[in-house]
Structure formats: structure tokens, C-alpha cells
Symmetry: D2
Subunit: 365 residues, 4 copies
């Protein structure tokens, strides 16, 4: 079925595989009048790109985006926006020896079973390259949200057992190191750790956190399209994510009600609170405080170390997944997490506009 | 917007508030020919009911379900099924002193802001009673899944710092104690812990785990309607859930690729594996092994202990939320988690039926 | 699949069969703050009721609506609204002799095939009684639209070969005769014609027209959710409708471009036009002029005259469909047409609110 | 909102404007295993192309389709299929003098109002070129339907007052004349008529009929997604359509019940009927007989003859829409009608697969 659609009012339809001709996304429902250029989108796409350091895959990917429709004289027209990125640098021969093999930790076996056969080159639709469409659309969603002051800070919070120290959190450091960590010490430790991991022909995972400031109060549509529920869907849909936490997350069950509840106070006509265990959402609806989310990323499945597995024809064997592999994909997923959060929030921003009769009157006078 | 709809092919529309006339659900898309009676549904609804022990609220809730449409001569007709439960036992006066107050940890403030006003009695639509519709529909989803052998085991895995011991896991013990824990020792510890918590006029949280056996391979629609993504939405949409984990969950990032990857092997024409860090889903698609999910539940917000808060008119004050409160809601949420998993799986079961042309031919000959 | 849902932002889910316990609808997405009582809805439901004249079925149907959720202190809360009507007056024995028979012109055969079996009493879900849910929800949609000045005039335009004379169109006459015709002469002719038809144990059809004034400009979402396209779906979905026309309708192809085009002129800052062959929609989007639609209703299938048909077990025979039959259902469908138009327009009214960035800013400041 | 999406299980998302870089469609939900090449699609796209005769616009349009994703080794993979056609031959200067003008019969005024501004070149998204996406996707839908024997015959039934003579209906003649009429005499008359119309700098309309053979019984999802309702939406969404008729259409109201009802008979284990006033659908569900639909097309709005109109700034003036105009677009719309019917039917084909529990068992064993 149509699983590549996300959103209802700001609806995106992504397409493309790692070794097909191109990848892209169609955005249906972007309001007219938003200034938009390829640069707005390219900036975010570049944050996906490996090759920035010796710790990421040297395969150069290019990934230049084109706007094919929906923009006229520099502004969105309100009609569908089609974005496309041609696949330029995918070398088939990297994967030819695994045509029949079900690589451990990858979707080879399930795609083969679900569809009867699969594009075995590089994961096809299950490849991380499908996130190109998400990130491109996410850039537009972020631009819309920025017009009402919403700000994103997304970063790698941990790699393996190395966590950032929030006492020295430095937002400017995030894109200053290849791990997108807001803590240079932690980044250095991670660098050493990764050298070790690569030497062992292995890989590791980490966590990504996202903080969103200035979200309007009231976003989220009870009871199934709550803000936290849709964010959970969005984040969990990213390949390799195994857990999603909001606010106190998995620590919530270690606290009592008195410890966990955030106490509202009115100050200068605003409802504020000192603590934020809720992570910015109560009853699944934004309360105006910072949204806080965390996604746990499993270690990259593709490793050069030998592994036991089986094939389409039922043969059990050991494989070494040759080729250049990222020992860690966490930094590349940072912009994907941010994109999914933006896509979720912009759709809820639109849905909230019909929550009260007074809004209808405001528009139609 | 229409946030009370879940699913596309097996689509449910829930309605009702804690102190309105009734609550219920309409199921649109249930196939014809399924045997269905009120008993099938009542069994699961009863698992929501408090009053089973001294640790849950003595407010008796009744909650008898009626089937109003969609069933004829004991079988579903393929037309919409309307289920209704009348509210019989909600006493308004329990909540009358908090008409203006934004109770900490509850959705009072955000509902007030989003909708301009709210039904202040007992949480209205944000009350846990809205799960009546989910559980009722979930019972039907479970019945459909059972016809192809799918089995659910859902239980309380921890309360506060007390965790079950999986070495002595006993499935029959689950509904034998008021905490729905599959470990009687842990249940006893929890009982003592809760006595302490109640004495302090406080509350606590816990975790719920769900294991699903015999799911067909291939359920999940990449890239946004993956099985894990929709399960995450379903679980996170339950009130008080702050984290959702699949398989290794938050532990995934502490392992290397070699440690985390599950190795497939072919044995007797079946693809199996020894480990299951994936939690039954790879690339977001079921691989035939047991699904494993965990939801973290925050401590119940309503406590008798005094808390600082504010009101609709901006007055800061201290409140004691009088009335009988559950110091823990985790056991009541066990059947709700199971319902959401069943609702997600049945919708994906249907969607998967058009994955291959051969299935089309199988039906239309 | 879930075919009983209509709309996205103002989403309705209807349920119920002619001889089940009850019928109803859940409305998900009604904004908060709209004053609403049972009377608002009952008024429109009463327009469905037969028994008003000797030309409609003497079966008394009652049909009193109850609001079960979503309204508090007389105003909608923004949460789902559940409406219910109990079936009080359906006599099974009217239909018992046709349990196996596929009545000509009815959906018996196709339901039997599609679902494997059917509720054979009175058509079940295919009965005209399912429109109860539509009309009830339509009343709420009309109320929302009335807050911005939208006005509906819906009426029977023809019965058999008898058409109203638009030169003597009298809006007040519509509900003054049992045919809901805005022309008393035509109504009298129709009365005589129907006497003749009833004597022959036969039935007849007619047309219904709907005029909507004061619709805002811009409603309709190209290219598939255009206003005319969704109106066509809404009207054609009503049982017995065989044609839907907008503006000039089937006459459009008899005119040249110069004859058909409506010429816009600016007068006192408003864009107006003298002709309206477009029927109020151009490019499928409302242009501020009156919307004009027409639905053609086939003659009522149930007649006492003998007809050839077949049965579930393959037996060919002649039947007389005993019981009291409406020789014409057109007047009863007038309010159903109006409801479907209102449901379509209110959903488009909401969708249009995100057409421009300036609307986003207007709401979120 | 997202109005450029059609279908749920076979969901298409079209994009592109007449003078943008390209146009296309993403198909999400096509089952895996269908053989597919560019030729399959190009064949149908070519039927859109003008330039075949002196009666259609000499602007050459090219329109070569590329498959960018979703196909591997000649078969669909089950992942989204992206189709693209570059705009090669649109000359801006044809329209430059009407930047401010609201052309009569076109969507200029409503787009300008709805979106705040518009791409004024050639109609932008409101141009007939948007149908490229529909026709391309429709070709794939038709291919799927052909695997179970469904056959389409779509043709121009009338132009102005000239109707085909069904007594000499010749299917092979349809693509043998520039009007796609299955009657060469009528085609000749139409040719003469059009010469006259062109001389007067005017335009005309017509009707298109579509007959579908071998549709399975049971397609259509009551009560809103009935087959006839969705076909009505699909056809009415095509630009310039003003009426949609099923079976007897607007003639239904001139018949009595006895005359209109089709009588089922069982012959050799099949349920057949001699008449087909229903047009193949009863209760909105297919009954196995031929589907019959008719769409009425208004005369082409763009004419060289002078017309009164107004501008964006409120100036009233006369315009001559210079450039080469089709005096008739009906033949070009034939393949678009066929595409919309195919898209509707394939989605219902998929939805019907979950109508009965026995189908679930058939797939999951």
C-alpha cells in the first residue's frame, strides 16, 4: 500500500532507491507565498552527505536538488512542489556479490519475502538514501515554521558509551565536528572510539536529541494524532531507530507523580513552568515549552567482519560485506530527525487552525 | 482535525468523554464473516476495570458494551460496526473544585488553550476512559488476527524500581495478581511499594511489554507506515506513555554491529534466527520472529499531595486533587497496549495483501 | 474497506442498517465553540420522514436523535460528536418472503456476492435509512457554514415529466407540499401523476436541484479534490442517483465557447458576472457566484408489480415485492442532497485555510 | 491542502504546470511483479497529443515519459514509481499579454484569489497539461486490470449536435479519425462543423462515453466510496467536465420503476441481465455487467473571438485570447477519462480484497 506518504495537509510523497535513476519527493499542500529556492533545500541535504571526515564513507554522493514545479518567480504557488536528486555516484559493483544473500541487520530478507523479489543493489528502497526525499521536504517545512519563530536544535547526544556533557553544551560546535556533537571533548573521545571500532571491522550506534523552541500551544490532535504519537511514528520510521523518548522518556517510570509533574505558574500573563519532564507535550499536545525528543540508533548493520547468514535459495554461509561502510550513521541521521520533526509539526500547525470557530471567522470574516 | 481516527483499511473512529453520556467506537472495514458477540469484546473491556484490588480506584465503572450495527446472525456483515458503552458511574462532584484549575501533569491547560474552553469534569476527552473505544475495537482486531494464529502476551514488566525476573516468567500469573505481572514475587514487592506510595499521597509509573507470536513475514509499508513506526504512534498515543522501544530499544546504541545483528539461518525451509535484537522487525517490516515492544508509563498525574499550579484566570495557588486516585495506572494500560498493537497489525495485514501481483490473481482468479 | 468515511478535516463516519438496533454518525473535526442542540439536527432529520402525505410510505419512523458526546454546556468541545437514532419501527415481516431473492434494482445481489451473505431485512446497509447519519452530520455542517452567511435552497425540480416553472419559483412553497417543489401548480400535477403511478403498482423518479449562495471564493483543492469533483462524489453516493450536473450540466456541450463562457466584470470592487453557466465553479474552484447542482434520481426500485428475477441459489422466478412502498423517494432525498453539499463545502472551507502563508500568520500572529 | 492525491491503496500524487520545468506523477502502492516499460505508458500519453489533425493545436508537445524509480529488471518492485515528462515546447510569449487578465471560462480569477497570485503562463496548474500525470498513472492501472481481463472502450460520443450512430458502432474506427469517434460518418460531419466553428473564432464541446467489460462483481465500498461515486469524482475532476452520468443517466427520471429495473436471471451458474439501465453498478457496487459512463465536456474556453472581462487590478476590458487554440478538446480528453476510470477501479479492486474473512485466509493460509 501507499506507505511512502506522510502528513495530510502538508502531505509528502517520497520515492527513489539507492541505485535507481533518481530520488525525490512531491509536496502537496504547501501554502502559496513562501519564498523558496534550491539553496534553502540544498543546505539541509548537504548535512546528509558523507565524506566530511575519515570516519564516514568516502563514496561521494553529490546530491544536487532541483525544483521542478510549484514555485514561480521565487515563491511557492500553492500547487505541488516536485523535488528531484539524480543518483550520480552509486557503483553497482560494490554489491554484486550479495545478490542472493540476506545481509544481517538489513531488510533484504523481508523485502524479498514481501515483494517476491527485490532490487538487491545497495538496499534499494530500504537504503538510507531514501531519506533524501524526507530531508528535502523537511527543509520546506522548517522554512514555514521559521516564519512563526520556531527554532530547531538537533545533535548527536551519544556515540556508544560516550555521552555529551550538557554542562558545556555549545550549539555552535554541532556542525564544527564530524559527529555533530555540541561538545568538542566528547567529539574527540568519539573519534578515538571509532578508530578502535573500524580496526575491529565493526560498527556502533548512538542517540540523537532534538529540541524545538517556540512551538505554539495546542499542536496535536487527540487521541491518535497527538503530537508525541506522530513524532514517534516519524522518528521510528527512520531506518535503524529502535527507541523514541519524549521528555523524561524511559526515566519517567523511576519518578513519583510529585517528582515528575511539571508545575505551571502564570508570570506576566504567560503560563510557564520550571521543570519540563513532559518534554513540551502534555496529553500529547504542545504546551508552549521546549519540545524534547530522543531517538536511539542501532549500530550500522553493514560491517566487514564475517557474519553467519542465509540466502534466497536457503544456503547457509558466512559473508563479509565488502565495500566502504560507515562505522556509524548517527551524524548523518541528525538532519533526518530534524526533518521528520518539522514535517510532523507543520502538519499539526495546519490541522490546529480549525480547532475553534473563532479561527474560521478570522479567516472568512 | 479528525485525530480520533486510526487505521485505513481497518479504520476506527473513537468518541466519548469521561463524563459525557457514553463512549464508543465505529469500526469501518471489518471483513464480513467473522463470528462476533458482545462477550468477545466485554472480556477485554473488563481488563480495563479498576476495583480489582485495593490499589486501584474503588470507583466502580461497569462499562457494558453493546453492538449496535454491523453484525447479523452472529457474524460481521462487512458494514460498519458501532460499539457503545454508557457512562454510568461518573460522579461530577469529585471534580467540581477544579473547574478553573490546571491540574499538573494533565491536559487541562492545553485543552483550554486549544479549544477555548473544556469539559472540566474528570479530564473530558483527555481522560483514560477514552481508551474504552480503543480496547473494544482492539478485541475485534485480535479476533481477526487469531484466525491466522497470531498470539499476544502483554504484561506489566516493572513498577517503579521493581522489575519482573524473566527467568521465572509465568504467563498464567499475569491475570492472577492486580498488577498483571508474570512474576508473583515481583507482584508482592510491588504491593508493598504501592502501600508506601499511597501513604505519601503520591503515585508511580512502570513499563509494559508486549510479545506477539506468529506474525506473518512482510507486515509494514515502507517508508513511513513501517510496522515499528505505526506501533510507535499507537503506543505513544496512549495517555501517559513517554517512551516506546522495539527489540533492544534504548540498549541498541550500547552494542556493536556484530553484537546487535541477528544472524538468519535456513532450517527446514524456514528462515530463523537465534537472537532477536531486532524485536521482530527489520527495515520496519516483520520478519516472522516474535515482535517485542516496550512502553514506559509516567507516574499517574493525579495525587492528593499538595502541588503548585495556576488557573484559567491566571491565579497561582496550591491544590490537592481530592478524590480517589489510582496510585498507578500501569495495570489498566496493559490491555490498551495490546489493543493498539492489534489494531496496527490488522491494518498492516490488510495492506500487505496488495504487495504482489500474485495475490491479486489469487483473489480474482 | 472503510467506505463509510467522508471528509478529512470535518470527517464523518456513518453506521447502521435499516433493521439493526440503531443508526448514527461520529463527526471528528468539528471546531469547538459552535452552539449545538438536538433541535438543530432534528429539524433536518424530520425532512427525511415519510408519512407526510398519502404519497409516501405510511410506515412511521420516529427517528429522534441523541447527542452522546462532543457537546458541553451547549457548545461543541472540539472532540468527536457522536449522534445516535434508535430504530423503532422496522417490521421484519414486511421482508421475510424475500430472504433469498435478489430484488431488481436493489443491491441484494451485489452485497450477497461482495460479503458472502447479507442482512436481508429491508436492504440492511443499502437501505435509504443509512442517510440518517449523513443528514444528522449535514445539519452541523450547515450550521457552521451559516456562521459565514452561506445559504442553501434545495428542492425537487421535476417528477417524471413534470418540471417546475422557474418563472414562478417560490422558495416558501418548498416545504408547503409533500413533494418539496417550489411551484404549487407543478406539485398538483405531480400529485395526479403519482395517483396514476400507484394505481399501476409502479414508481417514478425525478430531479433535485441545489443552489448555494454566498460561498467564499476559492473553495476546492485542485486537481482531484476540486469542489465540483467532491460534490459529484457526494451526490452520486446517495442511493438511486444516476447523474450529477454542475451549472449548464448536460447542456454545456450544445453551446459554443462564446455562448458558454461567463464574462467577469469588476463592479464596486467585486468580481461579478451576469451569466452563470459555470454553476459557481471554474477550474473546480468556487468563484463567489451561486453554486448550482442537479442530481437525477432513478425511479424507486421496490414496486408491487410482478418482476422477473433470480435467487441466491440460482432459481429464476417472478416476485411481487409486498409491503408499503414509496412510489417516489425524490422528496425524501432533498435534505440528503443538501446534507452532502454542506458536508463537502465545510471540509473544503477548512482545507482552504492553508492555501496562503498569510492565513498561517493571521492565526499564529 | 493535498488535493493532488487520488486513491488510497493505489495512490497517485500528480505534479506540474503547463510552463514549469516538467510534469509527472508518483504512484505509491503498485504491487510488485508487474512487467512495466516506458512504452506501456507512452502509448497512452500519445493519445493526449495534439497535432494529429488540422483541428487540433499545431503546438507540438513531445511528452516523452521516463521511469525514475520503482521498476527493476523490467518489473515493478512494489516501491513508489516516479514518472516524469519534461516540458519542451511551451512558448511563454503566447500568453504574455494576459498576465493581468482573467480569461473567461478559465481558472485565472479563482487561482489568483485562492493563492494570492498565480503562474499566469498558460494556466499553470489549471492547464490541461496536468492530465499528463493522470494518464501516465492510468496506463499502469489499466495494465493491472488487464491481467484479470478488464477491457476498456472509450470514445467521443458527440461533438456539438453531432452524435454517433450506435447502430454502426465500430471500435476500430475510434483511433482512425482525429475525433476518436467510432463512427466515420459522424467524424466527417464533425470535421465540417469544426471548420465552421473555427471560422467564427469560436469553440465547441461534446460528450465522451466509457464502457468497461469484465469488471469483477463487488467493486465499490459503501456508502461514500461506492464505485459510481468515486467514478463521478474522478471524471468531474477533469477540467471542463460539467456532468457525469451512469447507465441511464439523466434519462433515468423519465422511466418508471418497471421500465428501469434490470431483471437478473441465472443462466449457466452466472447471474446476468438483459437490460443495463444501471450501467453496471447497483447500490454503487459493480454487478458484473458492462460499466457505462458518460462525461459532458463544455466548449473550450480559449477563443480568438473578442470577449468582455476584467483584470487583477479591477479594469474592465475586451480581450482576444491570441495564440493557437483547440476549437475542441474532447478528443484529447478521451484517454484522460479512461485513465480516471482505471485509477478508480484498480483502487476499488484492492479495497475489495478485504471484504470477506475468507480472502484473508486465502492469502495468509
Amino acid at each position: 500500500m501507499s506507505g511512502s506518504n506522510f502528513g495530510d495537509l502538508f502531505k509528502i510523497s517520497t520515492w527513489g532507491e539507492s541505485h535507481g535513476k533518481a530520488l525525490g519527493v512531491v509536496i502537496d499542500g504547501c501554502p502559496a507565498g513562501l519564498e523558496l529556492t534550491e539553496e534553502d533545500i540544498q543546505m539541509d541535504l548537504n548535512k546528509r552527505k558523507p565524506g566530511q571526515s575519515s570516519y564516514t564513507t568516502p563514496r561521494k554522493e553529490g546530491d544536487l536538488v532541483e525544483i521542478l514545479s510549484g514555485v514561480f518567480e521565487g515563491k511557492t504557488t500553492g500547487t505541488p512542489i516536485s523535488l528531484l536528486v539524480y543518483n550520480n555516484n552509486q557503483r553497482s559493483k560494490d554489491y554484486s556479490n550479495i545478490k542472493e544473500v540476506f545481509r544481517p541487520g538489513h531488510a533484504d530478507m523481508v523485502y524479498d519475502h514481501k515483494y517476491g523479489f527485490r532490487d538487491y543493489r545497495g538496499g534499494g528502497r530500504s537504503s538510507g538514501r531514501e531519506t533524501i526525499g524526507r530531508v528535502a521536504a523537511g527543509a520546506i517545512a522548517k522554512k514555514i515554521l521559521s516564519t512563526i519563530g520556531v527554532e530547531f536544535t538537533t545533535y548527536t547526544a551519544s556515540i556508544g558509551d560516550i555521552s555529551i556533557n550538557k554542562a558545556v553544551f555549545n550549539k555552535d560546535e554541532i556542525f564544527n565536528n564530524p559527529f555533530y556533537m555540541p561538545d568538542s571533548n566528547a567529539a574527540n573521545e568519539a573519534a578515538n572510539y571509532l578508530k578502535k571500532v573500524m580496526k575491529e571491522k565493526d560498527s556502533c550506534g548512538g542517540t540523537i536529541e532534538c529540541v524545538v523552541k517556540n512551538t505554539p500551544i495546542g499542536l496535536g490532535e487527540p487521541v491518535f494524532d497527538k503530537c508525541d504519537a506522530l513524532l514517534a511514528q516519524g522518528l521510528m520510521s527512520i531506518g535503524s531507530v529502535k527507541a523514541v523518548e519524549i521528555g523524561s522518556g524511559t526515566q519517567a517510570c523511576k519518578m513519583t507523580g510529585y517528582e515528575h509533574n511539571d508545575f505551571y505558574q502564570t508570570k506576566a500573563d504567560q503560563v510557564i513552568k520550571e521543570s519540563n519532564n513532559a518534554g513540551g507535550m502534555v496529553g500529547g499536545i504542545t504546551d508552549g515549552s521546549d519540545l524534547f525528543l530522543r531517538a536511539t540508533i542501532k549500530p550500522t548493520p553493514s560491517i566487514a567482519k564475517g557474519q553467519q547468514t542465509t540466502t534466497h535459495s536457503g544456503e547457509n554461509l558466512e559473508i563479509n560485506v565488502e565495500g566502504r561502510h560507515d562505522p556509524i550513521i548517527v551524524p548523518r541521521a541528525v538532519i533526518v530527525v530534524e526533518a521528520m520533526v518539522a514535517l510532523t509539526l507543520v502538519d499539526l500547525l495546519f490541522k490546529n487552525m480549525t480547532s475553534q470557530m473563532q479561527y474560521i471567522k478570522k479567516i472568512y470574516g
